[in-house]
């Protein structure tokens, strides 16, 4: 009796709070775009942070000298144009009248300050390695910046287009110490409110140098770690837009029919990498055999719900540089050829570990498919499934046989390939050493024109597929799910959210 009544009361309360609250508050005059993301920002100082999640806000708060458009061409951002008087000199001509969020004018002095800040070892900027070829930055006048290099480096512009090279306001950095909790940019939005792990509100910058932009008054980023919760937020219309990375949840969003799902391949690259100093991977024939044994499309279908594009060493959406995958023989799965190569190398029936992590980009599902495909050619792969922290630790120590990884690519092949596959490359955890590849990578970076560089990088790609320090698998799709009334957004393969400045909401 009593229990019953209480039970009903409780149920009634739950139901009452669950019904949509119509007209809660009068229609706001402000146009707000609520954006669901699964990761919180680590810090906001563009010159210091490494986290991808941070860059997605930094992209909206700051500008760089140059940037990438949706077709991955370098275009001017704060620089209107630039010339190369010689291979070691760049002269940038800045836009006039660009203002920082506090109203101060952005001038060449800020650019010089920013670049020197990145180059200063004390800043510990991850962007330093992108531009450490610079041996001098000067400002001949208020709107001109002159950069001098120690040696010609073709990927300099790409380095300057990285989020780490965003131009910061000198006086603001000097006031605040660093910019981790505040910002001092020129971007389309300004930081209005930040409650960590809850939300971040960015308000429209009324002084933004691009006329008529941004098109919404504010963007509210909501941090919602669970993919299912993100979808629930979209369905209940608490969110206007969300980045969803889990393939099964993307499929559910597509099936819902009421949401608009935008997809494009990213510049990230899923690879199956080898420790080339450990048996059986010391023998290039074994690595090549595995490349022949693997059916890449099957992995995409099983592990990513079809949401990926088969790719070579240069991520597939980088159309300027990437060779079509049909030009690599290894891309037609050929178990017979794989078995034959394994026989020749004396590695038939070999056993080894595949190190993976179930979280982040650890690739557990990918490893499971690889395991079964390798079994078909007589290789016994044992999956070593570890926590993310341990995964990173093993990666840093190069303590693994093989590993499923996700690498962040770059529109410029030098930026990605040199650090990854050069014998002394900082992230060459394959311990891969190939004199021919080194020589090609060295040549590729000193030439500046695409026409000169293209044949070199095509040779690099072929050498990497055959030499196989890793089996290159695919680039995952990036998916943005939005309400049908959200217009004007476009995915850039770099993952930058620059198009939010052109996005409008017409509810």
């Amino acid at each position: 009796m009593n229990a019953k009544r209480l039970g009903w009361l409780l149920l009634a309360l739950v139901v009452a709070l669950s019904v949509p609250v119509l007209g809660a508050g009068a229609a706001p005059a402000k146009v707000t775009l609520t954006f669901g993301v699964d990761q919180e920002v680590v810090g906001l100082d563009p010159n210091k942070v490494t986290a991808f999640s941070s860059f997605r806000r930094i992209d909206l708060l700051y500008n760089k000298l140059v940037t990438y458009d949706a077709g991955l061409h370098v275009v001017g951002d704060l620089a209107e144009s630039w010339d190369n008087p010689d291979a070691r000199t760049y002269v940038f001509h800045l836009r006039h009248g660009v203002q920082f969020h506090d109203g101060a004018e952005m001038t060449s002095a800020d650019v010089v300050y920013t670049l020197n800040r990145i180059l200063d070892p004390k800043t510990a900027s991850p962007g330093r390695s992108y531009i450490d070829v610079i041996d001098g930055v000067t400002a001949p006048d208020k709107y001109t910046v002159r950069i001098h290099l120690q040696y010609p480096l073709a990927s300099l512009l790409s380095g300057l287009a990285s989020g780490n090279a965003a131009i910061v306001e000198r006086s603001a950095v000097e006031r605040a110490g660093d910019l981790q909790k505040t910002e001092a940019g020129t971007g389309p939005f300004m930081l209005a409110e930040w409650v960590p792990d809850n939300f971040m509100r960015l308000a429209r910058n009324p002084r933004y140098f691009k006329r008529g932009m941004p098109r919404v008054d504010e963007v509210v980023f909501r941090v919602i770690p669970e993919q299912a919760s993100l979808l629930a937020g979209l369905r209940s219309r608490s969110l206007d837009m969300a980045t969803i990375s889990d393939g099964s949840v993307v499929k559910q969003a597509q099936a819902a029919g009421t949401l608009n799902v935008q997809q494009a391949p990213s510049l990230n690259l899923r690879i199956f990498s080898f420790n080339t100093t450990r048996k059986p991977f010391t023998d290039p024939r074994v690595r090549d055999a595995i490349a022949f044994a693997i059916d890449r499309q099957a992995i995409i279908n099983a592990a990513e719900f079809g949401l990926g594009v088969v790719s070579g060493p240069i991520p597939a959406p980088d159309k300027v540089w990437a060779l079509p995958v049909s030009s690599f023989p290894e891309y037609h799965a050929n178990p017979a050829r794989a078995r034959q190569l394994l026989q020749e190398a004396g590695a038939a029936g070999a056993s080894f570990n595949i190190t993976v992590s179930p979280t982040y980009e650890g690739g557990l599902a990918v490893a499971q498919v690889i395991q079964s495909q390798l079994k078909a050619v007589g290789l016994n792969a044992n999956i070593q499934n570890v926590e993310w922290g341990q995964y990173i630790n093993l990666w840093v120590k190069r303590d693994f046989d093989s590993m499923v990884e996700l690498r962040g690519g770059d529109p410029d092949p030098d930026r990605f390939l040199y650090r990854t596959f050069y014998s002394t490359g900082a992230v060459n955890n394959f311990l891969f050493k190939d004199a021919a590849v080194d020589k090609l990578l060295d040549r590729g970076r000193v030439h500046v024109t695409v026409a000169e560089r293209l044949p070199i990088y095509h040779d690099v790609e072929r050498a990497l597929v055959t030499g196989a320090p890793a089996v290159f698998l695919y680039t995952p799709m990036e998916s943005q799910v939005m309400q049908t009334y959200v217009k004007g957004f476009r995915i850039i393969p770099t993952g930058a959210l620059n198009y939010l400045e052109q996005t409008s909401v017409a509810r």
């Binding site: 009796m1 009593n2 229990a3 019953k4 209480l6 039970g7 409780l10 309360l13 739950v14 709070l17 669950s18 019904v19 949509p20 809660a24 919180e40 680590v42 810090g43 490494t50 070892p121 004390k122 510990a124 991850p126 330093r128 390695s129 660093d178 981790q180 909790k181 960590p196 792990d197 809850n198 939300f199 909501r222 941090v223 919602i224 770690p225 669970e226 299912a228 919760s229 979808l231 629930a232 937020g233 369905r235 209940s236 219309r237 608490s238 969110l239 926590e387 993310w388 922290g389 341990q390 990173i392 630790n393 093993l394 840093v396 690498r407 962040g408 650090r419 490359g425 900082a426 992230v427």
Partner: protein
Amino acid sequence: MSAFLAGRLLTLIPVLWGVSIVVFLLIHLLPGNAIQMFLGTQVAMTPAQMDELRRLFGLDKPLALQYVDWITHLLRGDFGVSLRTSRPVLPDILRRLPLSGEITLLALVIALVIAVPIGISAALRRGSAVDAAIQLGGLAGLSIPNFWLATMMLLALGNVGSIASIGIYVGFFADPVRNLAVMLLPSFSLGIALAAVMMRFIRSSLLEVLGHDYVRTARAKGLREQLVLYRHVLRNALIPVITVVGFQAGYLLGGTVVIEEVFALPGMGRLALAAIDQRDYPVVQGVVLVIALLFVLVNLAVDLTYALVDPRVRYG
């Protein structure tokens, strides 16, 4: 009583000290470190740059020295600075504490509101079909993991379009209605398992008391059944329940870790989870210490309540 209280408070010191050592060692024993997590697998850094970062984070010192550093600062009320966000740890914890506390409290209330009446009616109808049904329901409540229940509720409510599903968190005092709208589902999914535990506990405790001689005596002297129940049975049966509630409050606080993650609530649990993931040592250490402190304080409070409810229990 005050001597007892003082004694109990003194024992907190070695307990918390022990906790501080264990948590410090455990988090530092985990493979990987803050800098590795910070850089991930994408960033190219020279060994010299890595060393610079290590010095910057104070990770170049021997472990024992790092511990002494931490504990001496702690004694001065300084919980240190997060390696990940460079924000001071204590204000971050204190800002998130009310949320986790509210979920815990609401879950407890929900659990009791469900468990007490149902547990009593099950005991009074022992052996009946109603009892069997309640027992079965209790078993289900116990077996369903709360994160699964939470996800299912989210999905279901997401379909009908509800503000209760995923809202921006606001404090209770800022806007009670919106606060409850956001907090009710998480509290419910956390409280349901506890309700099942409590219900079974109340039922068996009640059955035990019902079999006692004094109950038979009370009935024999012609007391109304209602009076027997309220004055003699419930009073005695509910005393052990208080102990269990106290213990469970501590576990509920731990349970908020998962629930906060599912419902995207910025509480202490979420802070801890991210910090463990990132090997953000000062934050993990701080959160665990605060939870341990709360746990022992709740237990102390339970012991004191005990004396209030049962006149036979006396301290000091």
